[in-house]
């Protein structure tokens, strides 16, 4: 809740303790909020750091031409054939999102079972904890051998990589309903399904978003690693990187990495935006 909002309520009758701002003051305040982004104090530190990094990068490109490509070259690779990057980005993005979607649905379903059935919880959770700290991307080459060069191994790997963090977070979230709340609703004999729907699932939402923040970047890693392991056979930014680096086209490699970084930031931003929309009641 923004405190500027409280003053705008229409004509509070007897409230000597409230200083109601005038329309001009409110307009000025709103203008200040809106123009915040244009003030140097806001963007200058970031831009300065960017400039320093770019300078360092150019120096690096001179000193170590086999590691860095000059920024100008990278930009021109992107500008020369933007369609190439767009196509490959869409491939990687769809692999990541489809895998994430499958992993999410499966993990959420299992989390519900785990939270409702004690036997399953005691069986599954220790395994889940171990697997969630295992770098599952390492099985990418095996998946390629087993499932071929198509979308299959990429989606499966992404789903696997996303599965366990979601499972652990959501299973914790579903059990995060405070005991007194449960007691209130048990005294009115709410069914397990009602408790799940009205209490457990909403209570788990902060945990769901926490897991999404972890898992969106992970899904990109899963998709790219799977592409790296099956390079040249299909599209995707991972293949682009693998093929270009084998041909020593450094500018293309870096261009693809920059696109991945931008894509990751975009996804993170989307999650944050959705979280703010859905979890307006949650202070975070």
């Amino acid at each position: 809740m923004t405190d500027t909002q409280s003053g705008t309520q229409p004509s509070p009758p007897k409230r000597p303790h409230l200083v109601v701002p005038t329309a001009e003051q409110l307009a000025a305040r709103r203008l200040r909020r809106r123009t915040r982004l244009f003030r140097p104090a806001y963007w200058l530190p970031f831009v300065l750091l960017l400039a320093v990094l770019a300078l360092g990068w150019e120096l690096g490109a001179r000193r170590m031409p086999y590691l860095f490509a000059p920024l100008g070259d990278i930009a021109s690779v992107l500008a020369d054939d933007p369609g190439y990057f767009v196509t490959n980005t869409l491939v990687t993005l769809s692999e990541a999102l489809v895998g994430l979607g499958i992993g999410f649905v499966a993990a959420f379903a299992l989390a519900v079972v785990v939270s409702e059935v004690g036997v399953v919880r005691r069986a599954v959770m220790p395994v889940a904890v171990v697997l969630s700290v295992t770098p599952l991307v390492a099985i990418a080459p095996l998946l390629v051998v087993a499932l071929g060069f198509g979308m299959g191994p990429k989606v499966v790997l992404t789903a696997l990589v996303c599965f366990f963090p979601i499972l652990i977070n959501v299973a914790t979230g579903l059990r995060a309903v405070p005991a007194p709340v449960l007691q209130v609703y048990r005294t009115v004999a709410a069914s397990r399904l009602e408790v799940l729907r009205h209490l457990r699932v909403p209570a788990s939402l902060p945990y769901v978003f926490a897991s999404l923040r972890i898992v969106f970047p992970l899904s990109m890693i899963g998709a790219v690693v799977a592409e790296l392991s099956a390079a040249g056979s299909a599209d995707g930014l991972g293949s682009v990187i693998q093929v270009a680096s084998s041909q020593n086209r450094l500018a293309t490699v870096w261009a693809a990495i920059f696109v991945l970084a931008a894509l990751g930031s975009l996804l993170f931003w989307v999650v944050t935006l959705a979280e703010r929309r859905v979890l307006h009641w949650h202070q975070s």
């Binding site: 809740m1 405070p178 209130v184 005294t187 009115v188 004999a189 709410a190 069914s191 009602e194």
Partner: protein, 261 residues
């Protein structure tokens, strides 16, 4: 509607006798407080009455039903010590949700009339906060919401577990007043767990004194003060006499505990 009657029970927690040989009849429509030192099984008693735990021995009857059946029929309203509101629902949403669950239970009740929850909230001074979230409310307002949530069910039996324990003195007194007003309207049976002697005298028809280890009833004191009881009653000599009697009885309960342990 009959009283709550329970005989002899033990809720086992690694052989700890939480409640032993409890014999208690609560007349329908009366306000009964349960008071006693920590660990005397007050909360356990409430959980047994509302059917959330089963007695290891003995029998509890609520309005002629078992506690479980009474809960299924939505005979209970419960107010815990913390308000236990859902942070994602507005005040109105929090008060309405218990009506939405277990709809079969309402059909089994004799009077299906659904009370006007908004009016009840306005009555306790939450009219301007109907659509606010719990995070925007003060502690007293939250607890008021929790009380309306329980009363709004028009329960036969209202169970309150130290509902004002975490509030400051002023808020506590204001809420006691409102609780009594709501109760005068509904005349539900109230079982009120408290730590406060004056609160027990102020509110109740009957005060049950309990002692710990093992949890048991040591005394039952009838409070014969006329209703409605307003703020002024606290300073009356009768009120004082009851407070003293209760204090005496509690001292006994404490010393009993010491002897046993």
């Amino acid at each position: 509607m009959h009283g709550v009657r329970r005989l002899y029970e033990q809720a086992d927690f690694s052989e700890l006798v939480a409640l032993d040989d409890i014999e208690l009849t609560i007349e329908p429509g009366t306000f009964v407080s349960i008071i006693g030192p920590s660990g005397c099984g007050k909360s356990t008693l409430l959980r047994l009455i509302s059917g959330q735990e089963a007695a290891d021995a003995g029998k509890i009857t609520v309005c002629g039903l078992t506690p479980r059946e009474a809960a299924e029929a939505k005979a209970f309203g419960f107010v815990p010590q913390s308000p236990a509101l859902l942070p994602w629902l507005s005040v109105l949403g929090n008060v309405t949700l218990p009506h939405k669950v277990n709809r079969r239970g309402v059909n089994r009740r004799s009077d299906p009339g659904s009370p006007d929850l908004e009016a009840m909230l306005r009555e306790v001074g939450l009219g301007e906060s109907l659509h606010q979230l719990p995070a925007e409310l003060s502690g007293g307002m939250k607890q008021r919401t929790a009380i309306v949530r329980a009363f709004g069910l028009r329960p036969d039996v209202l169970l309150l577990d130290e509902p004002f324990g975490a509030l400051d003195e002023f808020t506590r007194e204001a809420l006691q007043e409102q609780l009594l007003e709501l109760w005068e309207q509904t005349r539900a049976t109230v079982v009120f767990v408290t730590h406060s002697i004056s609160e027990a005298v102020r509110l109740s028809d009957k005060v049950v004194v309990m002692a710990p280890r093992p949890g048991r009833i040591t005394d039952v004191i009838d409070i014969d003060l006329s209703r409605p009881r307003h703020q002024e009653i606290i300073t009356s000599p009768e009120f004082h006499a009851y407070e003293l009697a209760l204090r005496e009885s509690l001292r006994d309960a404490f010393s009993h505990g010491e002897v046993v342990s």
